[in-house]
């Protein structure tokens, strides 16, 4: 690595354009949001920056807190289910031969790259009133009718537009986010430690919980953060799969900008989400540092 002043022209030539772009189109907009979060509505469109903390106090109103709490609960459940679903997949990818490994990686990556809206719509076509599951139920119903059982008329089950649907949607959308960091961490793991544990008489379960999980802790932390943050800030999933009262924080933010027209409060909510993101990433680096010590301690 070279010091920048040893090659000034080349340094500025390569560094300037992206940095300026980043400052103008990312830093300035985010700074604007931050400043607005200390503002007050003044008439219909004008916002006056008064340095008030009113918007942040507003966050602690009961209805707003409830939405926040709901978002956290739903994102947490989705993240934990993703972790449970993804861990065995990551283990399999780690210990598979090269060909199987790249196939599994491709199969996990494909949905990850597929348009989010399309995936959500696909889920609707499975869970909807006319979806696959209800078609299956209808089939069973007709079979029972044909068998001479009196099961009444078929009512399609309403699987969509509730909190469970949102959680299933969040899991569906974010599962690949969890697999990849887990796999990256497990792949680096020293296999002789697992072999030693098995040789010394620990079972597979004990080895998993006492050797593999602690060693993979940085990967688990990364996976949790990478899944939880977008799940908590998800807009489309609750919007399309949830009912009118199943708000998550992103839908609340959107309302401040479109319907409610309270930009300062919307800005404060956005920054709340930013702060949560930053805290989680700080926690992740902490676990990374801690995990690093465990794996080099032998």
């Amino acid at each position: 690595m070279q010091n920048w002043y040893e090659n000034k022209r080349f340094f500025w030539g390569t560094m300037l354009a992206p940095t300026i772009w980043f400052v103008i189109f990312f830093v300035m907009p985010m700074a604007l949001v931050w400043i607005y979060s200390f503002g007050e509505n003044n008439g219909l469109i004008d916002v006056e920056i008064t340095g008030t903390f009113k918007n942040y106090k507003h966050v602690f109103d009961r209805d707003v807190l409830q939405v926040l709490w709901q978002s956290i609960i739903m994102a947490t459940i989705a993240t934990l289910v993703c972790l449970v679903l993804a861990f065995p997949v990551a283990i399999a990818m780690t210990f598979a031969d090269d060909k199987t490994k790249s196939w599994l990686l491709l199969l996990i990556m494909l949905p990850f790259w597929t348009n989010l809206l399309i995936r959500t719509y696909a889920l609707i076509s499975v869970m909807g009133a006319q979806g696959l599951i209800n078609m299956g139920l209808l089939g069973i119903h007709n079979f029972l009718l044909g068998a001479g059982l009196d099961v009444g008329t078929f009512e399609p089950k309403q699987l969509l537009y509730n909190k469970t649907a949102i959680i299933i949607g969040l899991i569906y959308v974010h599962l690949p986010f969890m697999v990849l960091p887990l796999y990256a961490a497990l792949d680096k793991l020293d296999r002789s430690l697992i072999e030693a544990s098995l040789d010394l008489g620990a079972g597979h379960g004990e080895t998993l919980f006492r050797i593999i999980v602690p060693l993979a802790l940085p990967g688990i932390a990364a996976g949790i953060v990478i899944t939880f943050i977008p799940a908590m800030g998800a807009y489309l999933t609750p919007d399309l799969l949830g009912g009118p009262n199943d708000l998550m924080i992103a839908s609340l933010i959107e309302r401040q900008f479109k319907r409610a027209n309270d930009w300062p409060f919307g800005a404060a909510l956005s920054f709340l989400l930013m702060y949560i993101t930053l805290i989680f990433f700080a926690l992740r680096s902490y676990f990374e540092a801690k995990g690093g010590k465990v794996s080099t301690g032998h």
């Binding site: 070279q2 949001v33 790259w113 348009n115 959500t120 719509y121 599962l175 992103a250």
Partner: protein, 279 residues
């Protein structure tokens, strides 16, 4: 595939041979893929209603290409994605290179700052972009294709840090002596950059370009906030159609996008596997 559940003797670490693990993975894959297969299957269904299968048809595809709204949205999306890819690749490659090559004051801040567009929830960036463009009184009534500039700028802003990450990862195994050799032999700094470093970065650049293209094509939330009235991209069109289902039309349009995605993903993964084979 047929002997996926065959029992074989296994060594301790051959977890892939465990039946329970195989069943688990199969379950996860079914969960991930059933909705997509249903979606694709029903794009060939000759019925207005999802629930019944009435026979094979290509009419929805024909309708997609006859539907002016969808065509316009697709054209807008692809145009934005191309512009976004071109600019993101340049910006991302440059900054990925700078972070790998130079030490400079406040480097840590820039480095973690560039991670923010990747990690911050989309809604936050969407809000920022919306406020920014309204604050600087960006004109909303520009003629096509200039009215797509707001969306394109927003897309570039979140796409180029991804390109930077990919390019930088690729540079990690670059032998810096090659650059020194070129400089010793009289090449100018830029010449060495274009002739030695850029070719080495090429697989990373192409993978980054595909990533930028897909990210741009995929984005709904930021576009939703950045777009002026009357500018429709493909995801925004699909969003409005999901609310009012109209037979296999969305399914057909989605299938086209899924196929494009599969092609891009396979190419990108092939390219990223390459360096392992070379070294």
């Amino acid at each position: 595939m047929k002997n996926i559940f065959k029992r074989e003797p296994r060594a301790p670490l051959e977890y892939t041979k465990s039946l329970r693990l195989r069943a688990w993975i199969l379950g996860v894959l079914i969960f991930l893929y059933t909705p997509l297969f249903i979606l694709i299957a029903f794009s060939f269904n000759d019925s207005k209603r999802m629930i019944e299968w009435k026979g094979f048809t290509l009419k929805w595809y024909q309708k997609v290409f006859e539907n002016d709204g969808i065509r316009e949205a697709l054209a807008n999306s692809i145009l934005i994605a191309i512009a976004c890819t071109l600019v993101s690749v340049i910006l991302g490659t440059l900054i990925g290179f700078v972070l790998w090559r130079f030490k400079f004051p406040m480097k840590g801040i820039l480095e973690s700052g560039l991670n923010l567009p990747i990690v911050v929830p989309e809604i936050c960036m969407g809000v920022g972009v919306l406020m920014f463009f309204s604050k600087i009184h960006w004109p909303n009534d520009l003629p096509w294709p200039l009215n797509l500039a707001q969306i394109t700028i927003a897309h570039i802003t979140f796409a180029f840090p991804f390109v930077a990450v990919v390019v930088r990862a690729r540079l990690e195994n670059f032998n810096q002596e090659l650059e020194s050799a070129a400089l010793d032999l009289g090449a100018s700094q830029w010449r060495a950059f274009m002739d030695i470093i850029v070719p080495h970065m090429a697989p990373g650049i192409i993978a980054g370009a595909l990533l930028a293209f897909t990210l741009s094509l995929d984005d709904f939330v930021i576009t939703f906030f950045a777009s002026g009235p009357g500018t429709v991209t493909f995801p925004i069109k699909v969003y409005s159609m999901v609310r009012f289902p109209n037979g296999g039309l969305i399914n057909a349009a989605s299938t086209i996008i899924i196929v494009l995605t599969i092609i891009a993903t396979v190419i990108a993964m092939r390219l990223q596997e390459q360096p392992k084979k070379n070294t």
